[in-house]
């Protein structure tokens, strides 16, 4: 069965290839490749069938029992120390920043998908709203990053509620389709509202954030003090990279902190209850409308924060950055990490964003490896890498 599916997929995708020959472009055939692929899938599936399931890997099983408390602290400590490590160069910090953006997006989406159980395929829309709110606010009103950050969060939350209203009655697949459409609508608007958003050209030269009024630049503008002058050290372009890194780290940790707190509050518990059983929720006097809208709004707000950070880091935004594939990657991070697991998101983001970045040299094969990794994870850990869910309150805490 699996081999047939693979054949169907591989035949047009792998089997044909455009060849540049003397007569211009012509179609080439690579059926040997198709055969290899199909055979691999066939035997892979057969082995799994013969073994009566996937062999258990002890290391994966051990993940289950592990207390995750210390892992979180260790990861946080590594993240803080990273820029000061001897091998940390500009490249590494840049990549770590990128990973952190996705960690933050993953945590934001986790509120919607992992906690409230609302499948959102258009999460990138809020990322875009955040990025464009900052870009436009700084362009038209000359507002600084620190003013725009909360505004961008608010705008994104507003859009979250806007999306939330029409989809309140939908669940599962239907909800996914509508959110997918919403994500595309936002992108298409950004693309076509040329006079306001710059259309496909995007917005360039977005202001960089400052550190308590200190700018990161070799020769600061009149009346402003530069970071390196204030500290009395030599100018280095690395300062800005490190500053951006710490900024996103702080934002991400804030996201995590808020989410963890929310889970322990009645609203967080209501989200989880809504994911489990909507009818029971109504019967307990939980208002599903406001509960869902709040999940959308809070998730969107974090997306908006991440978006405005993205805009300020790049100094440039265009609709190109907010395609559906971004939503898909963020969703994959959440699902792979184990729905609702905060540390799972970090691990999955490292895997999905970090690995392809580090193996850029192997460009051609990285999507193949990516796909294989996904298949492997779904076979061994069908509920996500770290699917363990801690109760929000424990008996021991109640005894006091």
């Amino acid at each position: 069965m699996a081999a047939l599916v693979a054949l169907g997929l591989a035949f047009p995708l792998v089997g044909h290839r455009l060849e540049d020959s003397v007569n211009g472009l012509s179609l080439g055939y690579r059926f040997d490749w198709v055969a290899i692929g199909v055979a691999a899938v066939f035997f892979g599936r057969l082995t799994i069938g013969l073994l009566g399931g996937v062999p258990r890997i002890a290391a994966f099983d051990r993940l289950k029992g592990l207390r995750m408390d210390w892992l979180g602290w260790v990861l946080a400590a590594i993240a803080i120390a990273l820029p000061f490590l001897p091998f940390a160069d500009r490249n590494l910090i840049d990549k770590a920043t990128l990973v952190l953006i996705y960690v933050m997006l993953g945590w934001g989406l986790n509120v919607v998908v992992g906690l409230a159980g609302l499948l959102d395929l258009g999460y990138v829309a809020f990322y875009a709203v955040g990025a464009y709110s900052y870009a436009l606010l700084s362009l038209y009103f000359d507002l600084s990053f620190w003013v725009c950050l909360p505004l961008a969060g608010l705008f994104a939350a507003g859009f979250g509620v806007l999306l939330g209203f029409p989809v309140l009655r939908l669940r599962g697949d239907y909800l996914a389709i509508v959110t997918l459409g919403f994500g595309e609508i936002i992108r298409v608007i950004l693309l076509n509202w040329q006079s306001f958003t710059g259309g496909p050209n995007g917005i360039t030269s977005i202001a960089r954030p400052s550190f308590f009024g200190l700018v990161f630049s070799a020769d600061p503008p009149e009346g402003r003090m530069a970071f390196h002058q204030a500290l009395g050290i030599d100018y280095s372009s690395l300062h800005r990279v490190m500053f951006l890194y710490f900024l996103i780290l702080a934002l991400a940790l804030l996201t995590n902190f808020v989410t963890l707190r929310l889970r322990r509050l009645p609203i967080g518990r209501a989200w989880e209850a809504l994911r489990e059983d909507e009818i029971a929720c109504r019967a307990l006097g939980i208002n599903p409308t406001t509960t869902k809208l709040s999940a959308f709004a809070i998730g969107a707000m974090f997306g908006g924060f991440a978006g405005s950070f993205f805009a300020t880091r790049q100094g440039f935004v265009s609709p190109e950055s907010f395609t559906f594939i971004e939503s898909a990657i963020v969703l994959a991070i959440v699902v792979l990490g184990g729905m609702g697991s905060q540390i799972g998101v970090v691990v999955a983001a490292l895997l999905l964003i970090g690995l392809p970045e580090w193996f850029r040299d192997l460009q051609l094969y990285r999507m193949l490896v990516f796909g294989l990794a996904m298949v492997a994870i779904m076979l061994w850990r069908p509920r996500g890498l770290l699917s363990h869910r801690d109760p929000t309150i424990l008996l021991s805490e109640m005894k006091r």
């Binding site: 489990e276 009818i279 029971a280 019967a283 307990l284 006097g285 109760p391 309150i393 424990l394 109640m398």
Partner: protein
């Protein structure tokens, strides 16, 4: 009257499940509604909670008309339900389930309410950190009732509390319902197929057939009624 239902009509699409139901439940009473499969018992309980919504007729809780309120608002007026099939949250712990029951209650009462509910259901106390889904059927029913009690209801609605439980556990559950009324001064309206147990427990009972109330009387009267014995009791129910 705690609850007054007058001429209640409710429908699923074009199929009328309730064809004009009148009944009352006085404060502090236990009232049982019995009837065969598909008579409309569960529909009545559900439409007291606003879903399906009443097409005609009135539902009054004390002096408020609640027929047109959304479910969550009705619950906030002091109606709690342990729904059919229990509907506990399987992946949340027992304690979290109980906490969710208390979302509409004043948090100041939480600790004392929890103690009282766990006093009624000592089995739950042993399992507070366990996931709801890992409980046995009887324990899940206890959790559903306990969760409803955490809302500090004035009126407790129970939908088939004995469904799918062993006879011994059924007896336990009914003993606890009696204790709830005695200790907590909660009015109880329960729907049951297990007519024998329900009528023995209840002060009064109603019999429902095809979306209408056909008989009513005290629990003892109905138990002694030959028609009822033939229809609902001699069928082998313990």
């Amino acid at each position: 009257m705690m609850l007054t239902v007058e001429g209640l009509v409710a429908a699923y699409g074009r199929i009328e499940a309730l064809k004009g139901v009148d009944l009352t439940v006085a404060e502090g009473e236990i009232v049982a509604l019995i009837g065969a499969n598909g008579a409309g018992k569960t529909t009545l309980l559900m439409s007291l909670c606003g879903r399906p919504r009443a097409k005609a007729g009135r539902i009054r809780l004390l002096d408020d008309d609640i027929a047109h309120l959304p479910t969550f608002a009705i619950v906030r007026k002091g109606v709690a339900i342990a729904p059919e099939g229990r509907r506990i949250f399987p992946r949340l712990s027992v304690l979290e389930n109980l906490r969710l029951g208390a979302v509409t209650a004043d948090p100041a009462y939480f600790d004392s309410d929890l103690k009282r509910v766990l006093g009624l259901f000592p089995r739950l106390k042993e399992r507070l950190d366990q996931r709801g889904g890992t409980l046995s059927g009887g324990e899940q029913q206890m959790l559903a009732i306990g969760r409803a009690l955490m809302a500090r209801p004035r009126l407790l609605l129970l939908d088939e509390p004995s469904l799918g439980l062993a006879p011994l556990v059924v007896r336990q559950i009914f003993d606890i319902i009696a204790a709830i009324r005695a200790e907590q001064k909660v009015t109880v309206f329960l729907v049951e197929q297990n007519a024998h147990h329900a009528l023995r427990l209840a002060d009064r009972g109603y019999v429902m057939v095809n979306g209408r109330i056909t008989l009513s009387g005290s629990g003892a009267e109905l138990l002694a009624n030959p028609e009822i014995r033939a229809a609902y009791l001699d069928g082998g129910h313990g």
